[in-house]
Amino acid sequence: MTVTDSQKMAYVAAQAADARVNLQFETEDGMTLNMGPQHPATHGTLRIVAQLDGEQVVRCEPIPGYMHRGYEKLCEVRTYPQVTTLINRIDWLGSFANEVPFILAAEKLMDVEAPPRAQVIRTILFELSRLGNISLFLGDLGIQLGGITIGFYAFRDREFVLNQIEAATGGRFHPNFDRIGGLKDDLPKGWIAETHLAMERMRRLCDEFEELVLGNEIFQARTRGIGVIPTDIATSYGMSGANLRATGVDWDLRRDACPPGLSYDLADWKVWTHPDGDSYARTWIRLQEVRESTHIVDQLLDSIPAGPIMAKVPRIIKVPEGEAWVATENPLGEMGYYVVSKGDLVPFRVKIRSASFNNISVVPWVTRGVFVPDVITILASLYFILGDIDR
């Protein structure tokens, strides 16, 4: 395999960036602590370089890029139906939610609309992947703070949600189920009743979490007032999702700017906000989000209309020329795809806006002056998925 000049340049640039950080941190006073790329608190390969004074963080810089897989470029050599297989792997805990905005953007370009039944089922699966994602957050937060029991509870109950996703789509982790103009298949028999039970189960997990973790004095001492992000900082760093709602901004794309193709208007739910903006608020918001999400699923399950699952779409999908931007409220925050088409089988350019990259960009600001254990708390409560940062 030959190495092109641009690859060489990219390698040199990466080395130089690394060297800059190392030099900058090592030549100043104090101790430099290099967390990651392999560290249990970074759930993957995020590298965090912290300059310490004792246990106190003077400066801290996250260095993403260790898991960069070049998805935006890879999308350009895949046909539209093939792209969904790829983008499933961005936020791997809520895979189905990654497919939806891209499919909606393609539908927008092609001017197709999925039949109502497909729209409702799509919304249900969207919410199920949100549950699968955030319930893991609830467990992971406990593990990061040392209370590993809730982690196992979360894994146990999350299984019920994953089973439902698997029963409907055939894929436990990467469904690859959304199609332009509808869905791949209809729901299996008995799925609706079982999903109701799974939702009941998730609500019980929320109650357990509230008793075991949120009400715990040690947990409150570890999270209250730690990692406070004011509203203006959150908005200027482009944070979204639960992290933004935890700073008091009442903003949810599902309610405020729901793109056509998802049927959130059929359900009645509440968008919770918290005025504090600290780690506790972020956890609390996510807990309420899980609860509301189960209610959305319950309501939508009872209102699935009859009808076809696919609209009339040509076998070979050629998307007409144009540009489209669709963003949805994904488990981690706002996720959007900017798709540029030149009328080919493949997209000309795909820009992926994923939430975690913006959410962790606030880390240098928020970790100034905190203690090392607080860095862990803040990272855990900001909740990022490495695939979602690096794409």
Partner: protein, 345 residues
Amino acid sequence: MSGLIFAIELAYWQQTLIKVLVAAVLIPTTALILGIVFLFKMMSWMQSRMGPQEAGPRGLLQLAADGLKFLQKEDIIPDRADRFVFKAAPVVVLASTFLTYVILPAGPDLVIENLPTGIFFAMAVSSLSVVGVLMAGWASSNKYALMGGLRAGGQLIAYELPLILAVMGVVIQAGSLSMQDIVWAQADGSMFGFGGLGLPFVITQVLAFFIFMAAIQAELTQPPFDMPVAESEVVGGFHVEYTGFRFLFFFLGEFATAFAFAAIAATLFLGGWWVPGVDPNSALANVVGPIALFVKIMVVAFLIFWFRFTYPRFREDQLQRFAWKYLIPLALANITITGILVVVL
């Protein structure tokens, strides 16, 4: 106190040999029992999962299998480590645990060494482990290990004080530092004139018992006080660089220490080997004693591990604040009250 079992006269070297054998067999066995019963089985039931199933009947040999696995592993010493200190540290930690076992009475005659200042000796040697931990943290030439070691040093020193002060209440009430005498004081005591149940000091010294439990939780570096070894922060802390049998030493030391502290707590607060209804002067007490002590140890160890699986962990500064602002004043108040009551009553 002339039990039938030890009526045979033994030479000094024979006694020593027996004692060494008892210690060499007892400590790994107790650590294994605690590890299996609590870390594997109880923890998995509390967390609604299965726990080990494959090794041996119902997975009971899992720890033995793990131990063998550790023995096979390569012994890696970091390049820039201080080799002698690095190698010595696990031995120091385990030695402090071994020494604690010396004074534990399991029956009227079943004690390795009945020191007149038994509890003082136990407190003194148990704080030796701090030295081993600091050695491990410093010698590893690893920043995480250093942070973990220093955290452990600060924490263990902060929690020695409430531990000793909590013991003081018991010592004042029993009027002796000897472990045997403390057991006898509980066996001979009476509650409101009713002597059938004796007087386990957990009833009069309930505050000291709770302080003692909190302090040993910190001594053992278990949640909620496990920041020296916190997985998600310092990735194992002082033993991050240890592999193979040296890691096994730390691992074994942790559970053996848990067992030793549970035994001390059982002796100080729950009456040790003494059982209501069994005449402590009879030979039967030497037979029932170890069983009774074991049951009481398991009760205390259950508490220790229950806390461990339930709570998230404190932050280092919060832990210090908890020790100096709450535990130590409470322990001092307990000593004062106990002293006054002992004089008045």
